[in-house]
Every structure is written in structure tokens, then in C-alpha cells.
Symmetry: C2
Subunit: 426 residues, 2 copies
Amino acid sequence: MSRHETENTKRVVIIGGGFAGLNAAKALQKHPHLSITLVDKTNHHLFQPLLYQVATAALSPGDIAMPIREIFRGQNIEVLMATVEKIDKDDHKVILDNQQVLPFDFLIIAPGARHAYFGKDAWETYAPGLKTLKDALHIRERVLASFELAERKEQPFTEDLMSFVVIGGGPTGVEMAGAIAEIAHQSLKKNFKHIDPSHTKIYLIEGGKQLLAPYPEHLAKKAQKALEKMGVTVMLNTRVTDIKEDEVFISEGKSIKAHNIIWAAGNQAAPLLQSLQVPLDKQGRVLVQNDLTIAGYPHIFVLGDASACMGKNENYLPAIAPVATQQGRYVGKSIKNVLKGKTPKPFRYWDKGMMAAIGRYDALVLSGPLQGSGFIAWILWSFVHIYFLIGFRTKFIVFFQWALYFFKGQRNIRLILKPLEFLNKK
Amino acid sequence: MSRHETENTKRVVIIGGGFAGLNAAKALQKHPHLSITLVDKTNHHLFQPLLYQVATAALSPGDIAMPIREIFRGQNIEVLMATVEKIDKDDHKVILDNQQVLPFDFLIIAPGARHAYFGKDAWETYAPGLKTLKDALHIRERVLASFELAERKEQPFTEDLMSFVVIGGGPTGVEMAGAIAEIAHQSLKKNFKHIDPSHTKIYLIEGGKQLLAPYPEHLAKKAQKALEKMGVTVMLNTRVTDIKEDEVFISEGKSIKAHNIIWAAGNQAAPLLQSLQVPLDKQGRVLVQNDLTIAGYPHIFVLGDASACMGKNENYLPAIAPVATQQGRYVGKSIKNVLKGKTPKPFRYWDKGMMAAIGRYDALVLSGPLQGSGFIAWILWSFVHIYFLIGFRTKFIVFFQWALYFFKGQRNIRLILKPLEFLNKK
């Protein structure tokens, strides 16, 4: 190792390079007495709030992702691209897929969540979810290939090829449904001879009684109307009972045929957390103390989507980037305080509000007294996202890409990389 | 079909959306009496001269590719994403993979070429080539993953993981070797703790007595010296006798161990041409008449890399974008002349010269009396490429991406999308 390790040096292991892990590492990177290792399955940090834009061909993977080791270039942080196989909390060790052992004095666990199918794992084949760049590219290829196959008049699926079902009416589901509507009505306009993409059918299925559950009902209704105006059929109070190839079954024995089914309905924290042998909630998240540690293990922190952290009003904090970011910074500060012999204060989430994009020119904003939807809300949504994305990319390119997309409706990342035969099968 | 077809309407089928097919379609698109169908295996046109920049993480796939149907948005051209299975030249029919039949009055065949292994197809697994975006992403993932695995100290390959062999000293080989040297010495600097990417070994193997065969010897020598200065070991007069996993065997029983082997040594025209049942040269190209038609078939044209077209000095024209572009335009014009009852003049290639990039800040230029290498040549190379790429993308984003890359050496598209376990295997 190139750095000097003295008796005073403490080893910090960070699992996950998402918003939580990255911000913890940033808070700690210049500390002289720490030896930090960050482990991630992928080699990049992902700006997940815009992942749906990659899945719908408006942005490139490179626009919303950055190599983790480039972020920490020249810093005293070891970055490993590896999968963590096991955490031994009593022996203070993390074991990697290649059996490499990372001993730790402090452990920051932030592996995130995957989409979950409520125990019906077989559904994943027919209804892919959206968590990683690989997921996004998979969905992008399938969506685009559907129109190509329809233009070729592939039988017997021509109509199903132009039908889309999005399951789950949370922010991801709303954003995906809106973006697919845009693709059909805007981006692909005048691109085909045999099909009319504006005949595309888009269904958004939600089990609850409104879209975007955490928002007030009157705002959710506005979002619903906006989607309906864009040609999306919104189905509330509708439970999915089964998913088969190109078919979604709903209550009362009805079904919808569609070649593209997208899953945006449930999350499950990383299975790795089970190796901690501590109580988990039903989403597989670790029930943490108010300082984000595990009871009895003051040097082990669980953050971000992997963490069930009580907020105000006895609700767990939502699985969103601002929570993860603030938790990452908090844990970085906590560790520095512990090293100085101070006791850290409990974590408090500063809720700046929520936003959800509905389509181009429309969004919902809910920030304290500020509530609204429509064009102004969308401008706000755009600025907040561009601001954070540019901060993270330190590049203006994304801004230009966006300008083109938003003002001209261009979606030029519409590349299909795999052969069509392969995409048509599963 | 939406367009009006009258008795006067002639059906044109174009196979391939590369430089040749695309430019033929552009030349014909506004003709009132033509019904045009363009078939391509992929859904995008690719700016192939910069493909090595995608393989080496400087550009995104979306920067150098554009959906073909978007290029012809609103035009009277049917675009099909499909593989052509067979051409029946006597029955005037093209048969697609889904058995769809396209009858034609004029046929423009421009399916391009793939890399070829001189009959040793088994080598492809260990030494991938670079023709499509899929190829480029495959190479990018393997190159980047090698450094990740080396940092993890994967045994027993740590040294081999940081060794690269490029086979073939033509423009692609020279550009790849130069770009890998840049990655090792510039882009990855200060990114790792356990390995020093500047210790990377890069071998460029060429069977002939100089690099860049069509260039004069003194220029080729300059390119060689520039590469050597960048840390590339250039091996001339060296024949590859066998390729196995992580090992290249060369004459005299010697071998080089390397986890990354890249094939840039040979081309073979599309196998589809065999279904034409006409004489082919040893690279599988169709020997065309001076009007680019097949002898006896004045309505069937073969263009681009699929065509063996005699130039001045009794040499076949090289497989480069300017040749394909000019041939595409020429055939478009020819067909319009035939429809007017005129006899087309023979095709004449206007040779504006050749260029090859060696690395950042260095290139070779050979254009009539203008010959040179070094920084000025590189500036020229950059401007020509940016000019044509922007023309094709109608976007300035690429320019900014380039500016960042060239002036700061940033390669931010360094994303690995597949899990490491998968990449390590083959």
C-alpha cells in the first residue's frame, strides 16, 4: 500500500458507491488517520433519479454515470469493483466474492435495493425493473425493438408490440409511463411507414387508490389527468395477480396483452443484509438506531435504501437520493466525531420536499408550503436535476443534451445494440 | 402503404445503412417515382471512423450513431430493421430473415464487411474485432475490467491483465494501440492504489514491413516512433500463428501472454454476397463493373466495403468512408439518370487523401502534395472528423465532449455495465 499506516490508522470499509456511500467517502476522504476502502459491484456511481431517461432513450449511460475511481482520483481511497459476499459483524470483517477479506474498524453499509416481485421471482423475466444501467439499456432495447418489429409486421403480435404496461404508480412508474407516451407521440413521429406510433397503448397499473402515494390527493389527481391527456390509461385500485410472457393478469380474471411490461412496483433491500443477522423489516431493510448504527455495534452504520430509519411522524424515511446523501454526510461527520472522542448527535433528515416529473413541461412539486404542478413546477424540477447532475458530472454537456431534448423533443440515444432476433425472445 | 404507387413507380431496395447505403438513399429520397426500402441489421447508422473512441471510452455510442429512421423522418423511405437472408438476382427479390419478400427494380447492395480471421474463426473468442457498437462496448468492458481485476490482485493473471496485444498495424490497429496507451498513461492516472497503469504493456503486431501500409515509409516510421514513445512495442514482420485464451503465438514458437487481445488484421465482406452467385475476390467482395453494377445486371449495384472496385493504377479502392460515400451518391445519381433514359458515366473516385490518428496531438496526413505528421496533422484530422460528425449528428454536443477529451484527456464513458465475473470469463 502506498499510504502510511500507523497505529492510529483506522480502517473504514464502505459497501456501495451510491448517494449514501459516495457522500460518506467524500466526507472522510481527507482525514489523515483513516484508511478507506469503497467496494461496489459496478465501477460507476449512478445518478439514479434520471435513470428512466436512459431507459427511454433521452440520455446516454455516460451522461448519468461516472467511474467511482475517477471521482476519487488522487484521493486516499481504495476503490474495488467487487461483490460483497458476507459481513462478519463480530469478527469485523467483510468477505468479497474472490474470498478477499477486508478487516474494518468502521463499516458503512449502503448496498441499496433491487426491485422486488413480492415473492413471484418468475415475473422478472417478463416484467423487467429499473435499478441499474444494465436494466435501463435492457428496457430501452426492448421498447425500441417493439416498434421495429411492429413495422416489420411480425405476426401474431403486431398490436401487442405497441402495447405497454407499467406496473406501479410511484414516481418511477409515472415517469416511465409519461416518457413512453412522449416516445410514441413525439419522438417517433413520422418515423414509420406501416405503423402509427401514436396508436400505442400505455397502461399504468396501481394497487392503491391514487398515483404517487406520498403526495396530497389533489396533486396526484392532476398528475393522473396529465398522463391521461398524454394517452396513458391509468388503472387505480388494480392488483396484478399474475404475469406471463406478453400478458398481465389483473383482478376479476381480466388480462392485458402487451409485449412490454415494466415493473416499478416494489423494492427489496440487498440480500447481503441477511448476513448481518439483525432484525430486518419486511422490505429487508435494517432497523437502525437514531445514529444509523446497528444496536450493540456502534461502528457499523446502515444507510440509504438499505436502512429503515425512523423520521418524524413515526414514518420510515423514503428511499430517495436526498435521504441517502444526507445520511452519507452525517455518517462521515459521525466517524470524525467519534475519532475526536465526541458522541454523535442523532441523525435528522432535513426534508426539502419532493418532486416528480410527469412528462415534458409537467411535474409535481411538494416542498413545505410550496405545492404545485404544471409548467412552473417542471421548470423547478429541471433546474434542480440539472444542478445536481452537473455538480456530479462537473460538465455542461448534459445541459446541452437536455436543452435539445426538452426544447426539440429529440431522443437521439435510440440505439438498439443487440440483434432483433435476440430481443424478440427472452 | 401510405404513399401513392403508380405504374411509373420503381421499387428501390437498399441493403445496408452505412456510408454507402445512407448516401444512396439521401440522393434518391425526394424522387417522386421511387418507392425506396432501406434494410439494415441494426437500427442505426454508425460513424465508423470514430468507433475506436467508443471502444476506448472517450465517446458514447450515442455520440457516433444515429437511428436510421430518424435520419429519414418524414421522407418517403421505408426503413426496416432486419437481416437479409438471400438475394435472388434473377427473380428481382430480396428475402428477409422473417421470410418477408422485397421485390425490386433497382437493388443497391452495401452490407459492409466484418473482421476476418483468415479461416481461423476460433480466434474470434479470444481476439474480438471492432466493427459494430456491440463490438466496441465488448472491447471497452474487457479493457476496463482488466484494470479492475488487476487492482483486486486476481491471481495468477495480475501481469497479463495489464498486457494488451493489438493484431494488425493498419489505421484501426494504430488508433487502438495509441488509445490504449493514452488510457494507461493519462486517463487512469492516480486512479488505483495497488497497480500503476503506466506499467501496462502494449504490443502492436504487424505482418508487413511497416505500419499503415498505404502510407509512404518515412511517414509510417514517424507513426511508429510516436507509438513507441507512448510505450507501445511495435513488432513488424511478425506473423501470428495461433491465438489461445490470454495468449498470442507468433513465429519461432514465441508467445505473448495478455488478457486483452484485439483483432484489427483482416476484413471479409458480408457472407450474404455469396447468394448473388457472382465472382468474388479473396476478401469476399463482388468484382463490379466501372458503373458499380454486376456484369449482366445493370440494375444491381454493389457499393462500399462489399465492392471490389478498380481505381486508378489498377488497385482496388480502399475500404474507407469517403469511397463508400462517393459511391452512394454516384449510384443515386446513376439511377436518376437511368430513369431519365440517360446512360450513366463510369464511377470515378475523387481521392482527397488519407488520415490516421496516432494518439492525442499526433496524426498522419497524406493528401496529394500535402504530407505530414505531428500536431498540425492532428489538428487537421480533428477538424475533418468533427466536421463530418457534426454534419451527421447536427449537434454540437460531440464538439464539447471532444474538447473535454482532447484538452483534459478525460475519458468519462468508462462504464462497465456487466458484472465482473462475467467479463472475466469468455
